[in-house]
Amino acid sequence: MMQFDSICVIDDDPIVVFGIRKMLQGAFPDATFTSYENGKVALDHLSAAVASASPLPRHILLDINMPIMDGWQFLDAFIRLPITEPMDITIITSSIDPADLQQWETFRGLTHHRLEFRNKPIKKEDLIAIVRAA
C-alpha cells in the first residue's frame, strides 16, 4: 500500500483541528490534511480506503472523547482492518485519567501499529517532532 504525505486528524473540537493544522502546516508544507469529527466518520472513510486499496494517511492524530464513537472504540475497530504496514497513530487528549493511559498500554500490546500518547495542550515543537519521527 502506497503512502503519501497525508496527516489525518480525528477530533470533534474544530479549534483543535484548526490548531493542529496550523502548527504542522509550516513544517510540512506538502502534507495533505484530512479531519473527521468523530471515530465513526473516520472509520467509515478509512475502511473504504482499505477496501479500495486507496492510499492511507501517514499519521493519525486521534482524540479520545468524541460523540458517536470515541477514540478507543475507533481504535478497537481500526486495528482489525487488514492493514499490513505499521501505521503511526498518536493519541492527543486532554484526559489525564490513568484509565486512559492503561487503555493505551493495552492497545499497544494488541496491534502492530505504532501508538503514541500525548496530553493537550501539545506544543508545536513536540507535535512536529512526533509527526516527523515517523
Binding site: I15, G19, M23, N65, P67, S94, S95, K120, K124
Partner: protein, 616 residues
C-alpha cells in the same frame, strides 16, 4: 377259712360303711366291700366281690401292692396317697389306710383297705404351694418383704426379705418399737407412727413412701403398707408389706432432674425450638416459640400443624421441608427462611430441621431450631443500601473528576494552544480569526462552568422537598412551555396519562425531566418522520411507571447503553448535543428515589420508563 365267714349281718354292716372300705383275703381277693367302695371300683362292669386287687386296679402302683403284702405280715397303720386316673382320665387322688384283718384268734386272715378321695384337698395344697413359691419369687424380685404383728403376744414377725431390706441378720427379732425406729427421724418416723396408731384405733390401712435407715446406716426409700387384722370383730394385730423402692426413686429423681435441666435449657435458649411428629404436628415448643407465636402456654400450640398456624402457602413450604427431612433422614441446617405470620408480620430465621430417631432407629419426627435474624438481616440490608448509595456517590465523584480533568482541561488546552498560535501569527487577518476562536472557547468554558454549577447544586442539596405531583398535569404544563418549539418542528405530543395518577416528586425536577425528554425526542427525530411523542402511565408493583415513547432515531444501547446518562456523552451528530441534559435528568430522578429504564431500537425510536413513588 374265708369261705367260712358268714355273709348276712357282716355283709350288711360293711356295705353301709361311709368310708369306701374293702376286706381282702390272703389271696387279695375282695371278700367284703362297702357300697361306697363298689361305687368307686364297680364301674368296671363286673362283680367287685371275688375280684383281685389286680383286677380292680390294674395300674395300682407296686408300692401299694408291697404295702398290702406287708399287711398280711402284720404291719399296721400304713397310709399313703396315690394318684390314679379315672375312667375319663381325670386325675383322682386317694388317701388309703391299710391294716391287717385279724380273726378272733388274732390270726391275720387278710387286709382291710379304706380309701378316701382327697383330690380336692391335694389340689388345694398344690395350689397353695405354687402360690407360695410364686409369691416368694415375686417378693424377691420386687424387693417386697412382709411382716405380721400379733397384738396379744406383742410379737412382730419379719419375712426374710423384710430383714434383708433392713440389712439385719436373719435371726434378728424386731419389736414394734424398734421397727418404727428404723424410719428416718422426722417426717418418715412421724408418719409411720401416726399411721400405725391410726390403724390400731380406727382400722384404717396405710401405704406410704418413706425413708428408712438400715442397720448398716444406708438411707433407703421404701413403700410401707399395712392394715389391721380382725378375728370375730376383735383386733388381733397388723399385717403388711415393705418394698425397697430406692433404685426406682433415685432413677425417677434423676429422670426428673434431667428433664427439668433439659426443659430449663430448651426454654431459655434464645432460639425457637420445637418438635414435630410425622404429621408435622407440634409435640413440644419452648418459650421462645410460644412468644413468637404470640401464645402464653405451650398447650395452645401442641397438636397443631403449620396449616393451623400459617397461611396455606407458607405451611406447604414448611411441610415439604419436614417431609424431606423425615423421608430422607437428612438434616436441613442453617437455612435462611422468611416466616410470615397470619397477621402479615415477617421474620427472617436461620432455621434447622433435624430428624429424630427412636430406640430402633425409626424416624418419629423432627427437631426444629430457628434463630431470629431479622435484626441482622435488616442491618445487612441497611448496610447494602449504604454501600449502594456510597458506590453511586463514588461514581458521581469519579464522573465529576472526569469533567474537571477532561472538560475543563480541554478548554484550557484550547486557550493555551490558541494563545501560542496568536503570539506567533503575523497575518492580521489570521490573528483576528484566532481571537474569534478564543472568544468562542471562552463562551464554551462559561457554559461548561454553568453546567457544572447546576450539577454541583443538584448533588449538594441534601434535603429535597417532595410533594404530590399530578402526572398528567405536569405533562400538560411541559407541553404548554414547549408549545412553540413543538409547533416549529411539527411534533405531535400525546398525553395519555390517566388523570388520577399522582406521584411524589420535586415539581422543578419534574419540569426539567419532562422538557429534556420531550426536546430530545424532537431533536433526535428520524429524518423521514414527523416526531411523535407518546406519554402514558400506569401503576406497576407499588410504583407509577411513566413511559415516554418517541419515533426518533433510536440509540444503539449495546454501544452506548452504559454512557447514555453520563456527562458529556453524545451519541448523535447534532449541533445542540452537549451531553449534559440526560446527566442532570438522571441525577434528578435518583434524587427523587425513582428509577429509569431505557428501551430503544435504532431507526425505530426510544422509550424511557421512569418508576416514581406513588403518592397515594
Amino acid at each position: 377259712m374265708i369261705r367260712d365267714i358268714p355273709s348276712g349281718i357282716h355283709t350288711y354292716l360293711v356295705r353301709q360303711l361311709p368310708v369306701p372300705t374293702a376286706f381282702f383275703n390272703r389271696q387279695l381277693e375282695v371278700v367284703y366291700a362297702s357300697d361306697s367302695w363298689i361305687a368307686i371300683f364297680g364301674s368296671l362292669g363286673k362283680s367287685v366281690l371275688g375280684s383281685t386287687v389286680k383286677e380292680l386296679a390294674p395300674n395300682a402302683p407296686k408300692r401299694w401292692m408291697d404295702i398290702l403284702e406287708n399287711c398280711l405280715e402284720g404291719v399296721t397303720g400304713q397310709k399313703g396317697t396315690e394318684r390314679v386316673f379315672g375312667p375319663d382320665n381325670q386325675e383322682i387322688w386317694y388317701e388309703y389306710a391299710n391294716s391287717p384283718w385279724f380273726d378272733e384268734n388274732e390270726n391275720i386272715i387278710g387286709a382291710i383297705v379304706q380309701v378316701t378321695d382327697v383330690t380336692q384337698r391335694v389340689r388345694k395344697e398344690l395350689e397353695y404351694e405354687k402360690t407360695r413359691i410364686l409369691l416368694e419369687a415375686n417378693a424377691e424380685l420386687a424387693l417386697i418383704g412382709s411382716w405380721e404383728y400379733d397384738v396379744e403376744r406383742d410379737s412382730l414377725k419379719w419375712s426374710d426379705m423384710t430383714r434383708q431390706i433392713h440389712e439385719v441378720p436373719l435371726h434378728y427379732t424386731p419389736t414394734l418399737e424398734s421397727a418404727i425406729h428404723f424410719y428416718k427421724e422426722g417426717y418418715s418416723r412421724n408418719t409411720i407412727t401416726q399411721k400405725v396408731y391410726l390403724a390400731i384405733d380406727t382400722g384404717q390401712s396405710w401405704s406410704e413412701k418413706l425413708q428408712l435407715i438400715t442397720a448398716e446406716g444406708r438411707e433407703i426409700w421404701v413403700v410401707a403398707s399395712g392394715k389391721p387384722l380382725y378375728k370375730g370383730g376383735k383386733y388381733i394385730g397388723l399385717v403388711g408389706t415393705l418394698q425397697d423402692v430406692t433404685e426406682i426413686t433415685l432413677s425417677e429423681q434423676k429422670i426428673t432432674e434431667s428433664e427439668r435441666l433439659l426443659s430449663t435449657v430448651v426454654d431459655n435458649l434464645p432460639l425457637n425450638v420445637y418438635i414435630k411428629d410425622l404429621e408435622s404436628r407440634k409435640t413440644l415448643v419452648n418459650k421462645s416459640e410460644c412468644a413468637y407465636m404470640g401464645v402464653t402456654e405451650p398447650s395452645e400450640l401442641i397438636g397443631k400443624s403449620d396449616f393451623d398456624l400459617y397461611d396455606a402457602r407458607m405451611a406447604q413450604v414448611s411441610r415439604d421441608e419436614d417431609l424431606y427431612v423425615m423421608n430422607n433422614g437428612k438434616s436441613i441446617l442453617g437455612k435462611e427462611t422468611l416466616s410470615v405470620r397470619k397477621d402479615g408480620s415477617t421474620t427472617y430465621f436461620l432455621s434447622s430441621k433435624i430428624p429424630l430417631l427412636d430406640a430402633s432407629n425409626q424416624i418419629y419426627g423432627l427437631l426444629g431450631v430457628s434463630l431470629d435474624i431479622t435484626d441482622l438481616k435488616n442491618k445487612e440490608n441497611e448496610l447494602r443500601d449504604l454501600i449502594d448509595v456510597t458506590s453511586r456517590q463514588n461514581a458521581k465523584l469519579l464522573n465529576f473528576a472526569h469533567i474537571v480533568s477532561h472538560n475543563l482541561r480541554s478548554h484550557s488546552a484550547n486557550f493555551s494552544m490558541l494563545l501560542e498560535l496568536l503570539a506567533a501569527e503575523e497575518d492580521p487577518e489570521e490573528a483576528r480569526r484566532i481571537v474569534r476562536m478564543l472568544t468562542g472557547a471562552s463562551d464554551n468554558l462559561m457554559e461548561a462552568l454553568e453546567n457544572l454549577q447546576e450539577v454541583v447544586a443538584l448533588n449538594a442539596s441534601t434535603e429535597i422537598r417532595m410533594t404530590p405531583v399530578n402526572l398528567r398535569g405536569a405533562v400538560s404544563r411541559a407541553e404548554d412551555q414547549l408549545a412553540a418549539f413543538l409547533g416549529a418542528n411539527q411534533a405531535c405530543l400525546h398525553n395519555d396519562i390517566p388523570a388520577e395518577l399522582t406521584i411524589t416528586a420535586v415539581p422543578a425536577y419534574m419540569e426539567n425531566i419532562l422538557e429534556n425528554f420531550i426536546t430530545n425526542a424532537v431533536k433526535y427525530r428520524h429524518p423521514e418522520r414527523t416526531p411523535e411523542i407518546r406519554l402514558s402511565a400506569r401503576k406497576a408493583g407499588g410504583k407509577i411507571e411513566l413511559s415516554i415513547a418517541d419515533n426518533g432515531l433510536g440509540i444503539d444501547l449495546d454501544m452506548y447503553g452504559d454512557k447514555l446518562f453520563g456527562m458529556y456523552k453524545t451519541f448523535h451528530k447534532h449541533p445542540d448535543a452537549k451531553g449534559i441534559g440526560l446527566y442532570i435528568v438522571k441525577n434528578q430522578i435518583e434524587a427523587m428515589q425513582a428509577k429509569i429504564l431505557t428501551c430503544s431500537e435504532v431507526d425505530q425510536g426510544t422509550t424511557f420508563k421512569i418508576y416514581f413513588n406513588d403518592a397515594v
